[in-house]
Amino acid sequence: MTDSQTQSTPVVRCQNVQRVYQQESVPVYALRGASLAIEAGEFVSLAGPSGSGKSTLLNVIGGLDGFDAGEITVGGTNLGALNAAELSEMRLNKVGFVFQAYNLIPVLSARENVEFILQLQGVPGQERQERANIALQSLGLGDLGDRRPGELSGGQQQRVAIARAIVTDPVLLLADEPTANLDSKTTTELLEVLRQLNQQQGMTIVTATHDPIVMGYTSRQVVMMDGEIHQDSASAA
């Protein structure tokens, strides 16, 4: 892929995406034709009240959930054409996830948690260790690699989760309410980390959030309402 193509092809393209859940045979529209394009290197926040569809949009972009109509491409891959196994492969190789509840594997050390995903990719041992150490050091966790999640603070655990998410060099980093369980000081520190990743490494980041502080750190704010894109700062500009 050439530089010009990279610039012209969005990392994420959602066109008229619909997601409908059945609740006791009553259809509930989580997404009602959401359309969105995210370019490489953007730091985007998906905001909106509960039930607005921001988490659903994040989930379908990440291939965690299916969608009923429309089209989604991530890094040039049409998600609608993938089966479950191919979606797993796509998540493993193209997307990094940061969860609200950290979701580290409790029986593995911080370093092993970061190495884990590389091992799933089949990266050889020596290279795996080197890349995991670099990722941990870049997030200020160089000395804490041998600790297990239970021995780390919430902020440190979330940094490990970010290290795990970026160690594979994904085309897209998805973060679901990444600061919801953190105090304001730790939230700010973590957002600085994400901003550095975005600005220094050009990492494309999409985060779902309620938090105005988070929205303040992002370069583009998308507000959702009733399953639709209600406001997009990129369009406003």
Partner: protein, 408 residues
């Protein structure tokens, strides 16, 4: 792939340790089930071995050779030569042979008369039979030429006679006529099997041959017993002997004691049935706990799926954990079983039920027998049960959506 399997193995081991409290109880349940099964199976196996030894160490041996017609008409008319040679392949090692005359007789004291079998033996060759285990009051037979009589303790009580007294036997002679002869009782034996005390009397083979009168055969015997080192060698040994001596009837202990043979066969089935009964009960508990474990870790397993672990790897991880738990429990159970078996020491004394146990072809001391094949078989089957049990939690795990990782 090997690296990924190694990762999953390591993850499974750590998860087993992570839930050590709950898994301890699971291990304990498996260990007790496997240990109890090992103990009960060793007793059942001991019972089987005892029945087999009792059957073989009777007068039949593993193989008995007789003249045609002897089974229907047990008389000296159906004898064969003691010079009959026995040659078996070195691959079929024997413990020994014993040549005997074994005829129905009537024995009388001054007070009582009973029907018995009079057996002419060479005591030097009877190390292969239960004769070796007789506790003898008085004197034993000194050789094949010894013309005195050994009778059982129970028979001596019935006949109200004792060592040194005389008894009279009536037996069919070589000429087909009843032959009456007096014997002095050299000794009274106490046998591990009571029927032999009532039914058998022993004298020297050569002495009995002489007493039975002039015969067509110079050195007649009515049976030749062969004891092999292993019962597994019996079928080829029969085949060889039958080929070498087509003029004789070659039978084995299974044909001579079919009821015991059926019971010995039944033991193998009993062990398997007993094992599966215990394991079935255990499997319900195991499946229940393992499913609870998976449900407790829904978010964690969902996270693994979200990160890109495919269903096959998730399946392998859940199965590894289940089988790992089973292996630890089974090894502990086998060790427990071995300790329990050794704890029984010399065995269980069943002499209080001697009549009943003899009806089952057993001796009165039940010794547990630990067979390596049994330990490996039931250990392996237990792990297979664990594999089967892991199917249910694994199926549950496969239904976990990666969306579960987003639970807050």
């Amino acid at each position: 792939m090997l690296g990924t399997l190694s990762l999953l193995f390591s993850l499974s081991l750590r998860n087993i340790v992570r839930y050590r409290r709950r898994n301890f109880f699971l291990f304990a349940a498996i260990a007790i089930a496997v240990g109890g099964t090992t103990l009960s199976n060793s007793l059942i196996r001991g019972w089987q071995v005892d029945m087999l030894e009792t059957a073989v160490s009777g007068l039949s041996g593993h193989i008995k050779m007789q003249a045609p017609g002897f089974a229907d008409d047990p008389s000296l008319q159906h004898a064969f030569s003691a010079g009959t040679s026995i040659t078996l392949n070195p691959s079929l090692p024997t413990v020994g042979f014993a040549k005997r005359i074994n005829l129905p007789a009537v024995i009388s004291s001054e007070r009582e008369t009973r029907g018995v079998a009079i057996i002419g033996i060479d005591p030097a060759n009877e190390g292969i039979s239960f004769y070796r285990d007789f506790q003898i009051a008085g004197e034993t037979l000194t050789g094949a030429e010894d013309g005195r009589l050994l009778i059982g303790n129970a028979l001596a009580e019935t006949l109200q006679t004792t060592v040194g007294r005389r008894v009279v036997t009536i037996v069919e002679g070589a000429d087909g006529k009843s032959l009456e002869r007096g014997y002095r009782i050299a000794g009274v034996f106490d046998a591990p099997i009571e029927w032999s005390e009532n039914m058998l009397v022993f004298t020297g083979l050569e002495a009995l041959q002489g007493a039975l009168g002039t015969q067509q055969l110079a050195d007649p015997i009515t049976e030749l017993s062969v004891v092999l080192q292993s019962d597994e060698d019996r079928p080829p040994a029969i085949e060889q002997l039958a080929r070498q001596h087509p003029q004789l009837v070659v039978t084995d202990w299974r044909q001579m004691q079919p009821q015991i043979a059926e019971m010995v066969d039944l033991v193998d089935a009993t062990m398997v049935i007993w094992f599966f009964l215990i394991m079935s009960a255990l499997t319900f508990g195991l499946v229940n706990t393992l499913i609870a474990t998976v449900m407790q870790r829904t978010q964690e397993l969902g996270m693994l799926r979200a990160l890109g672990m495919n269903k096959q790897l998730l399946l392998i991880q859940v199965v590894m954990e289940c089988v790992g738990i089973m292996i630890v429990g089974v090894v502990a159970g086998l060790l427990l079983g071995v300790v329990l078996v050794f704890g029984l020491g010399d065995g269980i004394d069943l002499s209080a039920f001697s009549e009943s146990v003899e009806a089952f072809g057993m001796s009165t001391l039940l010794k547990p027998v630990l067979a390596l094949e049994d330990l490996l078989l039931f250990g392996g089957l237990s792990v297979l049960v664990g594999l089967f049990a892991s199917f249910f939690p694994a199926r549950r795990a496969l239904k976990i959506s990666p969306l579960m990782a987003m639970n807050r």
